[in-house]
Symmetry: none
Subunit: 152 residues, 2 copies
């Protein structure tokens, strides 16, 4: 399971270094072969090791084409899924299309999210974080049911 956050930068060739603490695991899992696609729920990107992506692909294939939301999710996630290979320095090349979607230009926040990583434009992420913290802190906002019963 992946966790932890790292500030990273994208060089002017569009490459991003994968933090070294994850590299061995990624090479072990799939010889450094990764799948990058868009996150349909937020303006960010998802980065899967190949075997994990194949599980997701299976789930997507099972969605009915007659459910509009399912069809769209399928189209987006599969459509934008790009193969990325770790290079000799442990970097991957981020395709233009995807960088634009997440408005990533130079500074990235990479978040471990269980079976995958989430890639955010740093500014966008900071803003999101502050918004969320304000919301959690305010007494006026009711936590959702699933959160109410959560003990950490």
């Amino acid at each position: 399971m992946f966790r932890g956050c790292t500030k990273l930068s994208v060089d002017n060739k569009g490459r991003m270094a994968v933090p070294s603490r994850y590299r061995d695991r990624l090479v072990g899992l799939s010889d450094g072969c990764l799948i990058l696609t868009l996150n349909p729920l937020d303006r960010s990107l998802w980065l899967y090791p190949l075997p994990e992506w194949e599980i997701i692909e299976g789930k997507l294939a099972a969605l009915s084409d007659f459910d509009k939301q399912g069809r769209r999710a399928k189209q987006m996630m599969r459509g934008y899924a790009t193969d990325c290979q770790l290079d000799g320095q442990g970097r991957i090349l981020l395709p233009n299309e995807l960088r634009e979607y997440a408005s990533i230009n130079k500074h990235i926040m990479l978040l471990g999210q269980g079976n995958k990583f989430e890639l955010w434009d740093e500014k966008t992420w900071q803003k999101l974080r502050e918004e969320w913290l304000a919301e959690v802190g305010s007494e006026s906002t009711e936590p959702s049911d699933s959160l109410k019963s959560l003990s950490l």
Copy 2:
């Protein structure tokens, strides 16, 4: 179960010594592997022994991605969860990101909190404590229902 509070300092490399009375237990539990993450409810940090964190991770994984609050909680807590390894002197390195979140610079208050520790900037903690004491002391503030029935 962890309890008790300790004043500690962070050196200029960002390291914090874990009090020696906890070390044996932490090494026994998880070979000194700890997870540090943000406390989304206060501006402080949580430090879990790995096995305890894995329980939390399970609870988080169960939250739906389609509930926005659940998704955010997941992103924040997992995203900021950082692996920390006790070094030869029994210290851990506190990542910049997290120190900033809790506005920790030099003096820390470490509180045992059952399954985890809570790390506060000392000044912030002092202030909070005084505020809370004042609030509880004042007759005007109603205790919440769960507190009303509490005998200590």
